[in-house]
Amino acid sequence: MQPDDLNRIAKQIRLRDLQAVFEAGAGHIGGEMSSIDVLTALYFRVLRIWPDQPKHPERDRFVLSKGHVALAFYVTLAKRGFFPEDEISTFLKPLSRLNGHPNCNKVPGVETNTGPLGHGLPVAVGMAKAAKIRGAGYHTYVMTGDGEMQEGSNWEAISSAAQFGLNNLTLIIDHNRFQQGAALKDTNNLAPFGSKLASFGWDVTEINGNDMSEIVPALEKRTAAPHCIVAHTNKGQGISFMQDTVDWHHKVPNAEQYKIAVAELSETL
């Protein structure tokens, strides 16, 4: 699938995500919008997966460590055929399997339960290490938030991935520069990430994480060491008034804002 097709799918996912946040009255829309381009590239181009066989042993693994953007993940999985798209309307409803953070025992395509931050990367290290031990050919991808990198467990995992020589592991840091309460730089500024990861022995690629022409080659790149993609993204990408403001971490648009956002996302569809 070519960048233009991927961009079109990413816009459809953004629209569906926006609609579901509006209808559910909750969600983490800012980080969802920032991460959707990478999710789209993974599920519609890069990952070797079989939606009808979500536990296929040779599937590539993807771990959404920033589990709070579950909705973007659900919309992507549904669109890719892991479960019916109309189920998205149950998001956050009583007894829906689509709760605020993904559950691997209920939702096909989810590999491990995330939500508390700093969990996905260690699990992904285990997945990649298992492939090495078993001689399996799958590749493991994991996406973290940039604020999430403040969790110390990530750095335990980063160190061990290099020690284990996991060149079958790709970490994508969704570097949208904002966390729940404030800008990253005003909280605990770990940026720049690239030099830190490189000093731990990782290969690092810096990209515009909202540009398909940069995302796809970075995800498909194979390196000698574990690979970190620092995806420079915009929180709220695609919706002008949400972009790059801390307010839109988990705010819900009102009816007027929703109309504007739908119009903006629909423009080039």
């Binding site: 491990t112 700093g118 285990g126 997945m127 492939a131 467990s153 335990e156 160190s159 061990s160």
Partner: protein, 322 residues
Amino acid sequence: MNAADITPKLHDCRDAFVFVLERLGAENPDIVAVCNDSVGSSKLGGFKSKFPERLVNVGIAEQNMVGVGAGLANGGLLPFVCGASCFLTGRSLEQIKADIAYSNANVKLVGISSGMAYGELGPTHHSIEDFAWTRVLPNLPVIAPCDSIETAAAVEWAAAYEGPVFLRLSRVGVPDLLPAGHKFQLGKANLLRDGDAVTLIANGTLTHRLMKAAELLAAEGIEARVLNMATVRPIDVDAVVAAARDTGAILTAEEHSTFGGLGSAIAEVIVAEAPVPMEILGVPGIFAPTGSAEFLLDQFGMAPSAVAEAAKALISRKSGRA
């Protein structure tokens, strides 16, 4: 009769654990051991030399260790994640909750040197909270074998069981109590001695102490039932209710805080199903002072003679005898 004839041989249950792990490892190439620089204290040296590529040492990083264990299981392997129980459970409790229990990952958590095995090292190294922390987590059986035979059987069972398990082992020597060839059954207590005056229930390093207490009671004409209850979750409701109905009083003892452990799990059944007088022995909700595990267990009223006295006091509380 010399001392060797009357003193039973004591076993470090870690030896039984690694003996079975190495045997299973030879049969099943998917078995991996994961540790936090604890190759020595987890006695994984033999596993490492036999299967070097299947020993995953993450270094001193327990949160990563448990997460990596979940990932290894996702990748089709059967990980035994080993570390000092205080760090394995305390440091990485959220990983155990989210990555292992909630994700229902097929990971075997093996807490070594639990209870007050590191007695002299102080409360940072005591693991007298681990039953309480782990037994509230759905999907996670919690098991503390009483001897080397039950340890071996539980490891064998855990490897065959599909799902997470927490095995709580000690390093303190214990005599063998169960018969050779014993098969472990999850959630099933073992009747070690029958009686009708009171039931004594323990697991781990306390079971043999309760057997000695029962002998002391028998010498006074008091017949105590003794149950070994390795499984703290799921608790053996039938055995607890039967013990309450048959003997009218229940005493529990554990190398754990009296808050939230085996005694609490049994009390939850007693309150709901068959209220009878009960005594819970353990560490009484404090940070324990310095001393060996054996010393501290004696200190906290779990010497066989003290248990026998506590049992007699409990019997006197039974209805009609007060």
